[in-house]
Amino acid sequence: MTEPFVSREFVGKRRGGAEKASRLPPGQYLTEDFPVLSAGPTPRLDLKRWSFSIEGLVKEKVSWAWDDFLKLPAQNYTVDISCVTKWTHLDMQWRGVSVDTLLEHAELDRKAAFVTAFTHDGYTTNLPIADILNGRAFVAYQYDGSPLAPEHGGPARLVVPHLYFWKSAKWVAGLRFMEKDQRGFWESAGYHNHADPWKEERYS
């Protein structure tokens, strides 16, 4: 191996101290902001027409209207979020419904191995089901104690904190369970299929 490359005179800001730095995946930097990333305009969704569905390889499709969704048991979550554009925001506070809770209302086919999260504006992202079960994902409708703003995916977005944030589909409309994996929007545009920030799975 050759000597590792050193940028002349670079020291770096090293913000936040050792504890925070240890929670920062490789190549990420800390921010206190909540930056916005989306490929197109922000859709304004009418709550009266909003729905969330679980479909595909389930015995029977289930759908919730907004009012019914709010009646589902919800939890508060404090999680670290990393975006592929390199920011990491520690201790983000959300409120929403665990995917496990949603799946209590549906019977998954044994063949279901992958899931596509689809949205009200036609975006998709794909995940192996293990990445959304056992408390690893939730559908959030509050951020920092307030209703989730449209530019951040409101009224509701999927949140999968342990993967890069594009997997946390904004304006989520449902989960479709499938036997085979099917690449979503960014996954088809050169981004990594799995997206674990600790393995720096940014691009494919």
């Binding site: 590792p4 490359f5 050193v6 940028s7 002349r8 005179e9 670079f10 020291v11 770096g12 800001k13 090293r14 913000r15 490789p26 190549g27 990420q28 930097y29 921010t31 902001d33 909540f34 930056p35 916005v36 990333l37 989306s38 490929a39 197109g40 305009p41 922000t42 859709p43 975006c83 554009t85 390199k86 920011w87 504006d121 530019e151 960014w186 545009a189 050169g190 691009y203 494919s204």
Partner: protein, 249 residues
């Protein structure tokens, strides 16, 4: 895809001040891959003890500029990477890069025949400049309109080059939101519905729009376009993440 995404060590060929806070860095790459206009590179800085910082920077140069890439970078007060680029880098220095990256916010002459509408706020003009340079280099005559919002005349990046590229179907509309020089004939306010309407008027409803800039500007401009009946699928947006003019991107 794999090869261009390995880190490589580029060399700083030249550094050109564009405005008080903005410089263009031209870097030569040992392993150059032809980019698509609108893509970006990742820059990685490493300290002696292994500490690293990475940021993304849009490609300003056209894909036709073989073997090198130009990045136009705004100096963000107290920023980690942009201050290093501005305050430390000199020609001959080496710097780690990987790319080109990004497959959606891209425009290729000949592939998208629709008239092109480019809307920029501040340093958000960078990836759009790559598209404009590419359009010129490829000899494309696609009707194109750039609406470019800056604070003051001194903050406009690429002003002279944009002037010289006018014609051949390219029209440029500047708006200055803070102060305007005497005799200024361009717009003098933030981008709003009326401005967007005037700029897209000749194109009817069929066009390809690229918007890049601070989040609020991108949000409100996209909103104006939707109100004017432009389909969401025709609008592509990019924000630059946490940084001064591109705050909260």
């Amino acid at each position: 895809m794999r090869q261009p995404l390995d880190w490589q060590i580029a060399t700083v060929k030249s550094i050109k001040p564009e405005t008080e806070k903005i410089k263009t860095f031209t870097l030569t790459l040992p392993n150059w891959t032809r980019p698509r206009a609108g893509q970006h590179y990742d820059v990685r800085l490493s300290a002696e003890d292994g500490y690293v910082a990475q940021r993304s920077y849009s490609i300003a140069s056209p894909p036709e500029q073989a073997g090198e890439v130009a990045l136009t970078i705004e100096r963000i007060e107290d920023g980690e990477v942009s201050t290093y680029m501005h305050d430390v880098l000199i020609p001959g220095d080496r710097i780690e890069l990987r790319g080109p990256i990004g497959g959606y916010f891209v425009w290729e002459a000949g592939l998208l025949p629709e008239p092109l509408v480019l809307i920029a706020g501040g340093s958000g003009v960078v990836p759009l400049m790559s598209m404009i340079r590419h359009r010129a280099a490829a000899g494309s005559m696609v009707p194109t309109r750039l609406l470019y919002s800056s604070r003051n005349r001194e903050d406009v990046i690429y002003y002279d080059e944009l002037q010289s590229l006018r014609g051949d179907g390219l029209e440029i509309f500047h708006t200055l939101t803070r102060s305007q020089p005497a005799g200024w004939t361009g717009y003098a306010r933030r981008i709003d519905d009326t401005m967007v309407k005037e700029v897209i008027a000749p194109f009817g409803k069929t066009m390809q729009v690229f918007i890049c800039g601070p989040t609020l500007m991108v949000e409100s401009t996209a909103e104006s376009l939707l109100k004017l009946g432009v389909a969401p699928a025709q609008i592509r947006t990019e924000r630059f993440g946490a940084s001064g003019t591109a705050k909260g991107g």
